[in-house]
């Protein structure tokens, strides 16, 4: 069986949840994709999973850390969390809504570590989003 699916199953099990057919489909719809709107996910699962179930599953995935929600301009978008992806941040264009993945940046990550430490805070995760105008929209 494929690795990411095993990983999904593990996380679900840790939270006493089962790996159902619908959950697999929704997971697959998000895998290796750019962040998607809820509508896009619903469409991707058209005929396979009902709208209401997509909402329920996304909410669950979010609670147990499988999915991460990004606020992108007007809409939000969904992507698999760092567990399934490499850790990264996004630039989001306020005009066209495009999201640009930032390459990993050691200097940034180290600075965050240092800041957390300066407050005696034990960092478990973080989220950063830069909003503005992309090249085409400026």
């Amino acid at each position: 069986m494929s690795e990411p699916l095993d990983q999904l199953k593990d996380v679900l099990k840790q939270h006493k949840q089962s790996l159902t057919r619908s959950r697999k489909i929704i997971f697959a719809a998000l895998q290796d994709k750019e962040p998607q709107t809820m509508h896009e996910v619903i469409v991707a699962c058209q005929g396979e999973v009902d709208r209401a179930s997509v909402y329920r599953t996304v909410a669950l995935f979010e609670q147990i850390g499988i999915i991460q929600r990004l606020q992108i301009g007007f809409k939000y978008k969904l992507e698999l969390s760092d567990v399934f992806h490499h850790h990264h941040h996004h630039l989001t264009c306020n005009k066209c809504g495009k999201t640009i993945k930032l390459p990993e940046d050691d200097q940034l990550e180290k600075r965050l570590d240092a800041l957390a430490k300066s407050q005696n805070f034990k960092m478990q995760g973080h989220q950063l989003e830069i909003q503005g105008r992309c090249e085409n929209c400026s």
Copy 2:
């Protein structure tokens, strides 16, 4: 005339937009306030500005970088962007829920500038949240 209003007018002019009565009212509703939900803004403008116009204005303000949307829990909230108030970031404790304000950090801000620039991106604002355990809960 008051300073922030001048600044608002400037930004609008830069984007060939005019400073109308409604826009002033909506701007005022956001000024010097904690981030608000769309609904709160609509209520604050009750009787002065129509719901639809609030949506249209918020969309405009967002595109030209006057307003920033924050993801808070499942809802989003709106606040004036960094141009109109000093900004800061938060540490949030996963256990007790306490939030700790981080002091402004030049090194971090500069790094973000550099990252945005490296993608030919014009940064209008950014959002950072660090999650983990505070001193007392670790």
